[in-house]
């Protein structure tokens, strides 16, 4: 935790998280913390267990051991004990997906309204007030639309509002997923490779958006990302995983200079072994040479 400002409260405390699938230990005794109003990045080579951590946090898997404590609004939520949908409903954790999961046949605006389901459901009093068109429900719906409009403006999607989500360009779909997650009023937002497939301009716009969310809404962001330009630029804190274990944890500078991290990414002896390994994988090249 060296170098992070101490004024931010701890939002998420992961302690001894372990996840086993049969004989395979996907995550092995990982502990780290994430703070509100900060961006915590989880990085690591393919198969290091990054998405598995997300799936444990958002209730898609229930961890084998470990404790996932979320602290906000003066209460503590133990995520490992909660049912999937309640984690969003009560503990206010929202997420996006590595392969975008939008409601394709619904319009962009509808996607954002669906994200406010629980607020609207309460206002519609189990649909009875809604069916009768009562004033309280109409007011709640208007507020929901305004909130959606706010996030459409923020993500630059206002012009697409009434189009089907499936017809959006790729970059816009990524931004819509973030907007949709933000409409659930999260305290912790988990982003699974938000920059995947974006061009450099879209990537830098994404950085600005994530910084805005962090600063203006005091949301804690947890980020899985392979694009190091994104990770190094916006993260306040980086956790590095390899083969399900945490191998490094700290500020971007600490992690970038950590020899263990360099070894995990580039192999034992980066000067000689790496090119030779590539050459072995390409027999045709070796014959020519």
């Amino acid at each position: 935790m060296n170098g992070t400002p101490e004024d931010q409260p701890v939002l998420l405390q992961v302690e001894h998280l372990t996840m086993k699938f049969g004989g395979l230990t996907a995550i092995d005794d990982v502990s780290f913390t994430a703070k509100a109003g900060e961006i915590t990045a989880i990085i690591g080579p393919n198969g290091a267990g990054k998405t598995t951590i997300f799936n444990c946090l958002t209730g898609f898997y229930s961890p084998t051991y470990g404790r996932l404590g979320l602290h906000h609004s003066d209460s503590e939520f133990l995520l490992e004990r909660m049912e999937g949908f309640r984690i969003t409903q009560q503990a206010h954790v929202a997420r996006t997906f590595q392969n975008i999961r939008l409601f394709g046949a619904m319009s962009v605006l509808e996607n954002l309204i669906v994200a406010q389901h629980n607020v609207l459901m309460r206002a519609s009093k189990l649909s009875f007030a809604g069916l009768l068109g009562m004033k309280g429900y109409r007011q709640a719906e208007k507020e929901a639309i305004n909130k959606a409009r706010y996030w459409l403006q923020r993500t630059g999607l206002l012009e697409y509002a009434d189009q089907d989500a499936a017809n959006l360009p790729y970059g816009a779909q990524r931004r819509l997923e973030i907007a949709r997650a933000m409409c659930t009023r999260p305290a912790l937002l988990c982003l699974d490779e938000p920059a995947a497939g974006l061009n450099p301009k879209e990537s830098s716009e994404l950085n600005a958006l994530l910084n805005y969310i962090k600063n203006e809404h005091q949301v804690g962001l947890l980020l899985i990302e392979h694009d190091m330009s994104v990770v190094m630029e916006i993260s306040d804190h980086i956790v590095v995983l390899d083969y399900g274990r945490k191998i490094s944890d700290g500020t971007p500078e600490t992690v970038a200079n950590d020899p263990v991290v360099i070894r995990a990414y580039l192999g034992e002896d980066e000067d000689s072994q790496l090119p030779q390994k590539i050459a072995e994988d390409l027999p045709g090249v070796r014959q020519d040479a």
């Binding site: 409903q89 046949a105 319009s107 389901h117 305004n146 206002l158």
Partner: protein, 444 residues
Amino acid sequence: MQNTPQRAVNWSRIVKESLVAGLIALVLFFELVGVRVVDNPGGLGLRSRWLWLLIAVVATAVGRLLLAWRREILNNRPVADLGLTASDSGKSDSRIQIFTRYVAPLLIAFALTLPMMPFANRYIVDIATLVLTYVMLGWGLNIVVGLAGLLDLGYVAFYAVGAYSYALLSTQLGWSFWVSLPLAGLLAASFGILLGFPVLRLRGDYLAIVTLGFGEIVRIILLNWYTFTNGPDGISGIPRPSFFGLPFKRHVPEGTDSFSSFFGLDYSSMHRIIFLYYLILLLALLTNFFTLRIRRLPIGRAWEALREDEIASRSLGINPTNTKLSGFAIGAMFAGFAGSFFATRQGFVSPESFTFIESAVILSIVVLGGMGSQIGVVLAAVLLIGGTEMFRSLADFRMLAFGALMVAIMVWKPRGLLSNREPTVRLADHPEEPSPDLVAEQKS
């Protein structure tokens, strides 16, 4: 293929295809059409109908020839043409929207005035009542299949629950139609929840199989629980509905009024037929308005979201179990209402009326109409139910016409007759209003 020029039509392939189709038709129709079992005085005999067989085979071969020829023409169209058709489909989408907007009120007006039309005889009104029953069932199933995306092959079970509820409540307890109707709906809805609890973890094909089984279980229970349901004999003598207490009868006991005597009309058996017609029209329109309304509520949007992506819905805090159960229950409730109507119209219910083929017909209406499209269901019901009733004179070939109609719709409109979806809310309809507390609230 060979070195044929791009635009040439490959005739040898087309002819081969049509010959193969003709051969298959020959094999199939030999039994179905070519020979027929007849009741001779000395026992059963066979009668051959070779001319009919020939007609069927030639019709199939020629039909295949035309289809294959059309496909070749379409395949060989230059790219520029294809671009044109793409913009055409966009245009047809907006045409459907205009069609829906203006045709729906016209259809309602037509349905309201139908019994007063000069051509409306008893036969027409009877068919219209039947069509409306299926329209209502289609609209009910549309909630489950079209909105919530849960493939239900046992929908007729809820129809049966509604029919037997009214039949038993009225014959055993003497309850009136208007008291039994909501109860039948509630009972059917609770059956929906009963079925829903164990099966909603299943998806797609698996859910379809289990619902299919449920439909059969209900029918078999009705068939075998003799002491309660009277088994295969069914329940007869179910009271006909009355007009706010005024029965549709020629002779009533002294001192009471019938519908005709109260209004000073001459007794006519048409009164009851027309009343039943308006009753089902009312019930069907109620289903329609309810569906249109609930689609715009959070629960309706949650159904559609679950249909689109269950994992994403869960990650947004939507409770998948409750949401699906409510869809199942509401769909079942409307089937229960329709079942009560069926029982009071027929005056007799038996398990025979609730076979799997009924579920299949209702599902076909929903799928052919275009999943989720309310007006598509009406068109499909008119085509499938009205059409097959009109073709009654074709006797044996009625079901063939039914099948041909389904194939034709699937070839011509694979996504259903009207398959476009209107968003439930548009930003364009909600102009921006400055709201100072919003930003403050966002920050909290």
